[in-house]
Amino acid sequence: MLRLDGLSVTEGDFSLTADLALNAGERVAVIGPSGAGKSTLLDVIAGFRAPQAGRVSWRGQDMTTTVPGKRPVAMLFQDNNLFPHLSVARNLGLALQPGGGAITAVNSQRVTDALARVGLDGLGARRPGALSGGQQSRAALARALVQDRPVMLLDEPFAALGPALKSEMLDLVAEVADSLGALVMLVTHDPADARRFAQRVVLVSDGVAAAPVPTSDLFADPPAALRAYLGQVTRPG
């Protein structure tokens, strides 16, 4: 279980608090207006930002001060998920052997298998620039697959893809996460993504990351903040 206890991040006018718990293996969407702090929330969990107060723990282990690479977390960023000057195989290999060096036969096999799983069979020798946008997303996902961490954080990595491609990728993420048994947190602007992908939703607005609510409940009776975000006018009376 991923727990955020009394978490608080402030920077100038911006502030975010969170007090919530997420279950291992579940799929959670993080939605809310831009600037509310969705990415900040993920950064704190991934270790790119230190909270002013509170703690982050996984399965009871405090990891608030752990460096990003040592956390049980794999992250897909909005962009720059792959080093453009390295082959896809080397990109994945670095995730397995962050100390560098020649990739071992075992790891090389894992890379090949992961690429096959995401439909990039035989494309390991290519540089990211020689792949299409969708293929690059798949390669980044393959990297998360070989990392095999129990938490996957997705900070709108598919925002640049078209709707059909994005849905396809979300299904693939769900498939990969299920096979790993990983908790997935997906930041998205699009309520349709949340409906399609997530069992529960964390709404981030007005400086608070709310406790997760089942997706169907949330959209059946949206709170005022979500209604405002979705552009639904509150009916008087």
Binding site: A46, P68, G69, N80, F83, L94, Q97, G100, G101
Partner: protein, 504 residues
């Protein structure tokens, strides 16, 4: 963090290697004896030649930059690129070229004599100034050209539609720009000429044409008066610091800029202006190119019978150049940050001769400094090149960090893996360019080595100087051509190494 620890160590090393020698000369020079009259002359000459060189460079650069800014012609790109060449041209090679043009038996005097006119001499103040203008006019042109090209094309279009005459155009658009850029260019060149050593060594000398740097060398080599050398080093340090602060104030950080190769569409300047521009460009091209052509022409005959000592010196120079390039790049990689660049600037504030004097003082109690001539030269050259390397590499290094530091951290990359798989491959181009500049600068350096070297440890530039002093001009010309080829060759190799198959 291991990465920042490496940066701190590199920074401390650079700071120690600059501040240590400075402390040594201050400590040794603190026994302030009264300045001899020769020292006052040296200070005065240093200032006079620096003011004249900077003023003439900027003055001549203005019409040339204007011509380059508003004309298109075949070879313009080549000429603009060539304006960057003096930066990597060994001073001693340029001096030989200038001698071939302005020397006793040079082109100019041959021409004057055939017309029955008195000949001119290149030695002394005007020789030093001519050589400085040769090196710094291109720099001034590049800086001012940037200023010109930074004036938005729309302004010229507006001025043209208003029908402004040339005088008004100058008052409204170009005058203000020049007032902004020219003082900076003047200040930068003034600072460069202030610590001129090799040019003063070869074309100056004597009580009337000795710079402070040259006086340090003479005190060390001829009088072996370390106290006086130290005192002069302190004076040089003071001059350079005052001038450096002044230059930083005045210059708008234009640096040694990249000279954007763009022509602004202009609707003025037909007729006489066109002839004037052509004349400017022709004159400056002749001034810059003739000496180089002469070096090549005069060098070929001597190239065939270069003695073994020349080849040995060439070997030393290659070793020094490669060593200081490796050292400089090793420093530059961790220091390619904002604070690192500030540390690196120390190398430019302190002149090579001051550094050399200080290192000599530090080494002397323990070893014979002359045995370490090549090592000291390599280290000083690396220090002196570091600011340029950092200026080239820092923007790219910061971009790499901005784009990929998070990904690297998310993967938990070790410091080594980050260097091997991310930073170095991403920085190949600037690394190659910076390495080429460092190698060429170091290859052509005639500074510290003159202070330290005995004949067993001569580098190629020192060998050329020695041959010139012995009036063996054919051998000197041959060795100079070899030096030119090696300097340009090293630059080309490194720069190209960074480009070929660049993994972007």
């Amino acid at each position: 963090m291991a990465r920042s620890a490496v940066a701190v160590i590199a920074g401390l090393l650079v700071a120690g290697l600059t501040l240590g020698p400075v402390a040594a000369v201050i400590w040794r020079g603190a026994a302030w004896s009264a300045l001899a009259s020769g020292d006052w002359l040296a200070i005065r000459f240093t200032l006079v030649q620096a003011v004249m060189s900077a003023f003439l460079s900027v003055l001549c650069a203005v019409p040339v930059a204007r011509a380059l800014a508003r004309r298109r012609f075949a070879g313009r790109g080549l000429l603009v690129a060539l304006l960057g060449a003096p930066f990597i041209l060994p001073v001693i090679v340029a001096v030989l070229g200038l001698l071939a043009v302005f020397g006793q038996s040079g082109l100019v005097n041959t021409g004057l004599r055939s017309l029955g006119l008195p000949s001119v001499t290149i030695y002394g103040l005007h020789g030093v100034v001519i050589a400085h203008v040769f090196f710094n006019l291109p720099l001034a042109v590049r800086m001012i050209l940037q200023g010109w090209l930074a004036i938005p094309a729309e302004r010229f279009r507006l001025a043209a539609s208003l029908g402004l005459p040339a005088g008004q155009m100058f008052r409204v658009l170009e005058g203000p720009m020049l007032l902004r850029i020219a003082p900076g260019a003047f200040a930068v060149i003034f600072v460069i000429c202030l610590s001129s050593f090799a040019i003063a060594l070869t074309l100056g000398g004597g009580p009337r044409a000795t710079t402070v740097e040259l006086a340090i060398y003479q005190a060390m080599r001829f009088d072996f008066d370390l106290a006086r050398a130290s005192m002069l080093a302190v004076i040089q340090l003071g001059l350079a610091l005052v001038a450096g602060v002044f230059a930083l104030r005045v210059s708008s950080g234009a640096g040694f800029g990249a000279g954007r190769d763009r022509v602004v569409m202009r609707w003025d300047g037909g007729g006489a202006a066109r002839v004037g521009d052509a004349l400017c460009i022709g004159l400056v091209a002749a001034f810059l190119l003739t000496p180089l052509v002469m070096v090549v022409l005069r060098g070929f005959p001597g190239l065939a019978n270069l003695g073994p000592s020349v080849w040995q010196a060439a070997g030393h120079s290659l070793l020094v150049a490669l060593g200081s390039t490796v050292l400089c790049l090793l420093w530059a990689l961790p220091l390619a940050t904002r604070s690192g660049e500030l540390v690196g600037l120390a190398g430019i504030a302190v002149s090579p001769l001051v550094l050399g004097t200080g290192l000599f003082l530090i080494l002397r109690p323990f070893v014979n400094p002359l045995d370490y001539a090549l090592v000291v030269t390599g280290v000083v050259n690396a220090l002196v090149s570091l600011p340029f390397a950092l200026r080239i590499m820092r923007p790219e290094a910061e971009a790499v960090r901005a784009d990929y530091a998070r990904l690297g951290a998310a993967l938990g990359l070790s410091g080594w893996a980050w260097l091997r798989w991310v930073l170095v491959p991403r920085l190949r181009r600037p690394l190659g360019f910076a390495g080429g500049l460092t190698a060429a600068l170091s290859m052509g350096d005639l500074g510290v080595i003159a202070l330290f070297a005995d004949p067993d440890h001569a580098t190629l530039p020192l060998m050329v100087y020695g041959l010139m002093g012995a009036y063996r001009m054919e051998a000197a010309s041959g060795a100079a051509l070899l030096l030119l080829a090696l300097s340009l060759g090293l630059f080309w190799l490194f720069d190209r190494g960074g480009r070929v198959d660049a993994e972007t």
